[in-house]
Subunit: 131 residues, 2 copies
Amino acid sequence: MLKLTRKLEYALIALRHMQDKGDTFISAKEIADMYLIPRELLAKTLQQMVKLNYIKAAQGPHGGYRVRKGLTEISMTQFMEDLEGPMGIVDCNINAECIQLENCNIRLPIKKINSNIRAIFNEIRVGDITS
Amino acid sequence: MLKLTRKLEYALIALRHMQDKGDTFISAKEIADMYLIPRELLAKTLQQMVKLNYIKAAQGPHGGYRVRKGLTEISMTQFMEDLEGPMGIVDCNINAECIQLENCNIRLPIKKINSNIRAIFNEIRVGDITS
DNA sequence: GTTATACCCGACTAAAATAATCGTATTAAT
DNA sequence: ATTAATACGATTATTTTAGTCGGGTATAAC
Ligand code: SF4
Ligand code: SF4
């Protein structure tokens, strides 16, 4: 329980690698090979980050991806939710339904824990991991 | 991502309910019906907690379960790992293998986040939720 | 203008983790 | 005896996560 998804890890690994390389475009293939990440999966994740304006893509030979300025200032909460959707330790802390909700006797204390966890990720920026 | 398991929620709901009832034995059926929790699943979870010495069982008619004194002092980390096994936001923070480990460029910052999350659960006791 | 390299994108499949169910045995109060 | 309850292992179903495939588009180099 309480795990990050693999996709998030791959995204962070790639971002850090790209950041190390500065302004040059890095191909998905290069990163996938270097860190033993499944190519197609990494590619899909990078494409998602392009849509989110986290990185910039260049097509054709010598193409690839490059980190956009300002990405490092984004909070991990934002980053994670952009990539994986709402974050919450239980259903009632996100959109989801819960049939226990009406009688639930632990909702409030759980909600408080959830806030504490969110607070951790709110205070961490992507750059704290990728720089 | 980052969710508690349903089993943990059911366990906490049951513990809180039993605690409210003091020393009397409460049947799994009663709790399951009250909170709309699947009977067999709750029963299995309660049985697990008996083995962990968290609660005491009584068989036969008028039997059921009752919370053991001292349970409330247990940390949530202990509780969660007793019920669900090792907790960690990524594989390298628990037992599990990871083929990225050797070249991983985010391991250290992630490890720090993991410590922060564990710290939250270390500071919370079961009684903070069930009392 | 052909070729090679790389991104784009949606659909699909596989694997793993989680959630729920079933069947049978045991215990004890009435 | 009967009934109401726990004990426990095996099994199945569901959901989430992870990974794959196939066909397309852009562009640099020759
Ligand atoms: S805390 Fe209670 S209401 Fe919220 S998801 Fe869990 S069971 Fe449902
Ligand atoms: S942080 Fe790196 S080493 Fe640890 S599990 Fe994730 S990829 Fe593997």
